[in-house]
Symmetry: C2
């Protein structure tokens, strides 16, 4: 099959590889309807995460089941499915407590690769959610977004306790940040402040439900959020970048007693214990437990109540994956979809 392989920072190639094979009785193999490039794929692409050897890329997927292992009972060949970017068993104590992305048996799909014609899905019963039927072609981008960026933005908003009566601020205007805006809106937030200095992203943020745009960053951004919230800070802040500056900006934009959900994969971030202490902000983050949200997200998409696929502003055939990476790296695209 054709698959996207990163050979070294900046060197992405689409190559012929072996088709995946069922090796565990809990595996499934899907044929992808579409796949895409994630902001987090840029960490190794940019060399921030090391690339020791050629690595298969991608962790987002929607597709049709082709084959299942002997113990798989919840999906069958021919069914359309999607799943989280973390495969999870669904049965361990951590999964049952609602944290499948920290499942003791988890497999990060980034280690398997899904920017390819087919993909192996471990723990199929715990991971895959069947769609209600064959999706209309125009729903594919929305469904694909649920696999990570929508589910991750949703978790950010849930972790930040976005809801009725709350002012929510979102740090980061990538696909996850924009979809955290959409999530905050769906969760009933009263006021949603998107922090963005890019006009097309501001526009999408407004379309997704942002009531205010703040273009300032860092301390100036914090000051602006305080100005908009009676000097107190937002009740709920979603961090969707993962840098020292963005984490501090998010923490300092949250009022005492408020909640910060951080979903940007942290890189070289050190948080001051003193600052965290005196902030009195509830903080939780990590790989989003997307699996929890999928039934609700699929339902919202299927009923055409949300349109998260709008974050895809570039669509290319799989063969042009390298250009998709370049466009995202150069911020010419928010998020690139790859088709077959």
């Amino acid at each position: 099959m054709r698959a996207t392989i990163l050979h070294a920072p900046g060197d992405v190639r689409v190559e012929e590889t072996d088709d995946p094979k069922i090796t565990a009785p809990t595996d499934a193999i899907i044929r992808l309807s579409a796949t895409c490039v994630c902001g987090s794929d840029l960490w190794p692409y940019r060399g921030v995460d090391s690339v020791e050897q050629p690595m298969p890329m991608g962790h987002e997927y929607v597709g049709i089941v082709e084959e299942v292992g002997d113990e798989v009972t919840s999906v069958k060949p021919g069914q359309y499915v999607l799943g989280s970017f973390v495969a999870s068993c669904g049965t361990c104590e951590i999964c049952r407590a609602g944290y499948p992305s920290s499942c003791v048996n988890r497999v990060f799909m980034a280690q398997v690769g899904t920017q390819s014609e087919r993909a192996l899905i471990p723990h199929a019963d715990g991971t895959l959610v069947p769609l209600p039927g064959t999706p209309d072609a125009d729903l594919i981008p929305d469904l694909l977004a649920a696999s990570d960026v929508l589910g991750t933005g949703w978790f950010g908003a849930v972790a930040a306790e976005a809801g009725p009566g709350k002012t929510v601020a979102v740090v980061g205007d990538g696909a996850v940040g924009l979809l955290a805006v959409l999530a905050a809106k769906q969760l009933g937030a009263e006021r949603i402040i998107a922090m963005s200095r890019h006009e097309p992203r501001q526009k999408l943020a407004r379309e997704f439900g942002a009531t205010d745009i703040v273009t300032e960053r860092g301390d100036d951004g914090v000051a602006k959020i305080k100005e908009l919230t009676g000097g107190l800070g937002a009740h709920s802040v979603v961090e969707a970048v993962g840098t020292q500056e963005s984490m501090q900006q998010a923490l300092r934009s949250t009022r005492p007693g408020g909640h910060m959900g951080f979903v940007g994969v942290n890189h070289d971030v050190a948080l001051s214990g003193e600052e965290l202490f005196f902030s009195q902000v509830h903080v939780v983050g990590g790989p989003a437990p997307v699996r929890n949200f999928l039934p609700r997200l699929i339902d919202l998409i299927w009923q055409r109540k949300i349109n998260p696929g709008k974050v895809f502003d570039l669509t290319l055939p799989l063969e042009e994956a390298a250009e998709a990476y370049r466009a995202m790296d150069e911020r010419r695209a928010v998020k690139a979809m790859l088709t077959f």
Copy 2:
């Protein structure tokens, strides 16, 4: 009046000072029934917090109201009262949201001083809680404990979401840690692991409700907690020290999706964003919103259902405050009460 003044690290003296005076219409003045030395008083005593000029010491108090400002309506002269170590207005948005220790008008009582015969209490209506009557003498230590160490341990347990079905681990065997054990027990925790290597403190922890004692610290302590919890870590961890090692130990002892409440005043602590991210632990801490808990704590004490005053293992007259500090500094005492 007689008051305890820190002149320089290690140099605590009891001196004659002016009686406090009502300056704001929301002030009250109380005559103390007893006062005490807190673990956090040791930070300046040890020179970890700088001592720029002679500073009044102490922030815990129970006593009788002597005088109130014109606008005070909730307490009156002659009433026995206690309050939190943070004076709070009770009316700002942060207070109303349940975070009086982050009140926008807060006054840390440590800046006022309560290791003295009388004390000025700002924001009396928001801060003081009247007792049901004149307390029996033997209840004074219990009531005094509610002002900070009990309320802070309680917040640690609440922040860690201690409750039925939960395994709670407590890092730190000072008065706050020990009272976090008591709180976890009251909140219905199933299993309570006290981390302590000091036999008398272990004994008190067991008396307060600890089901297990772990003597190991650091990585060994984490390994022991994991061993006791099926490899996962505790559901709820209370951190009651405030050092780099204790914060890491607490975070690493918490299972993914679990909750860590940290109430040790952090000093020179840097938390790795990456570690916090992948831990997927809910973290919240800070100066405890003790005021929230006081009605319940006073009721439990008044009904003699809890005996937090047991943390006082040294009682001295106010004049011997210097010895009280020395005994706590040298860990000869868990907590010292000062009487008149």
